[in-house]
Assembly symmetry: C2
Homo-oligomer: 255 residues x 2
């Protein structure tokens, strides 16, 4: 099996390296990932600046892949259109430091890379590890769990272009209780800014790091993750609200 591995934390991120070690048990792995951290860049792409590409070796001086001075979605485009000698069998994005559940899915560079893969009709899986405290995350443990989930998804031979979002609960919270397929939570987040004045009298804001999603529905990704369940959510990228479209077909328009 040929695996294309990318992420949004950058090619030197420990989560990517831990996941690569596990994925090497399943087949060949080529990494095409951002040269630097690209968290919360969403589905940005680069139009106006050049995308510098450099080969990167692993700890054993073996070929790891390419670092791209661009966004996660740029990495996927370049991998599939320019860099890989053959198309991959599957695209994996992760292992991200921090969960990507609820409306966070839309901010996530990790998920955007997987969506970009699905644009090209590649089977694509985003994988993230919940972050609970400012302590080192157990990427090795989480990567082993992620690899077993990926194997089980692929064993069902999903059709080309299928897209999945996997979240592994923080292993510091206690033992994992199982794996659950769950829809994306769509409730708003509680978020705040910290307002400050700079030495020149100008107003600026910091995005506060704490944000919450109070009382998530237990059947959603956010709810299941909070109960130490690994979540698997099948995604799609048609944003059309089809029910409302049907209603709107009855509207009369005037120019």
């Amino acid at each position: 099996m040929r695996i294309l591995l990318t992420n949004d934390d950058g090619i030197y991120a420990p989560g990517l390296r831990a996941l690569r070690t596990e994925l090497l048990k399943l087949g060949e792995v080529v990494v095409v990932a951002p040269a630097t951290e690209q968290s919360a860049v969403g589905h940005s792409i680069t139009l106006l600046t050049p995308l510098l590409v450099q080969e990167v070796l692993d700890e054993q001086k073996e070929f790891l892949g390419w670092a791209v001075e661009g966004r996660p979605a740029d990495c996927v485009k370049l991998a599939l259109l320019e860099l890989l000698p053959e198309p991959p069998d599957v695209l994996i994005s992760g292992l991200n430091a921090g969960s990507n559940s609820g409306i966070n899915v839309l901010y996530s560079g990790t998920v955007a890379a997987a969506i970009e893969g699905a644009f090209f009709r590649q089977t694509s899986i985003a994988v993230s590890l919940e972050y609970t405290k400012p302590k080192p995350l157990d990427f090795q443990g989480a990567a082993a769990i992620a690899r077993r989930v990926i194997e089980q998804i692929l064993s069902h031979k999903p059709e080309k272009g299928s897209l999945f979002n996997v979240n592994v609960p923080s292993l510091e919270k206690g033992p994992i209780k199982g794996i659950r397929t769950a829809p994306q939570n769509v409730a708003p987040y509680l978020e705040t800014f910290d307002r400050r004045i700079d030495p020149r009298g100008r107003v600026y804001f910091w995005t506060n790091p704490e944000f919450g999603c109070p009382d998530p529905h237990p059947e959603t990704d956010v709810g299941a993750l909070s109960e130490s369940l690994v979540t698997v959510t099948p995604l799609q990228f048609d944003l059309t609200h089809h029910a409302r479209l049907e209603e709107m077909k009855q509207w009369r328009w005037e120019m």
Copy 2:
């Protein structure tokens, strides 16, 4: 009616100014928009750098709104959580220089700003003008059409948090043929890179400006726009593939 106006081309963009002039016929308009161009940034948000905010006046030295050194989605968060004295009745994002149809919807900062508004349960409408040739776009003409479409959408009193994506065809192609509600096209784009070598021997790529979506289905946004129809697409931000989720509920998982 209180209108929050934002965009991704920046607070000084002519498309935003033309649309503001039209929206002033409908009510009060406050602008909270990026200080600089933010095209193709998708649903990026700013976590690690400060968001500088400055008041901006219009051509008549009247209060226009606030310029934010951040992304379109940051502007919407700051507007709703910090800057506006009262919540708006509607959020408008645009008028973007270039259409946002098909899978481009996911790259678009214009649409991301509207989605961010919908996260906050604001009725939100993204508006874009198709770009066909490197000549000055007729933002005034397109803004007048956009305002009439916005009025008609709002006349149906959509429930809070409803989200719409409007595209106006290039007026240089010929007369507008009407208004059509259409789903997002989900076909892949044809795109290419231009590979070059820098003076230091390093490989880099430019994203080519030409990309195409050959033979779009006529019933989609891309197809209707190519036939000089204004398109209106109701959007949603639940990326769950619900049909596949139902199938997957039957899968057996092993830890």
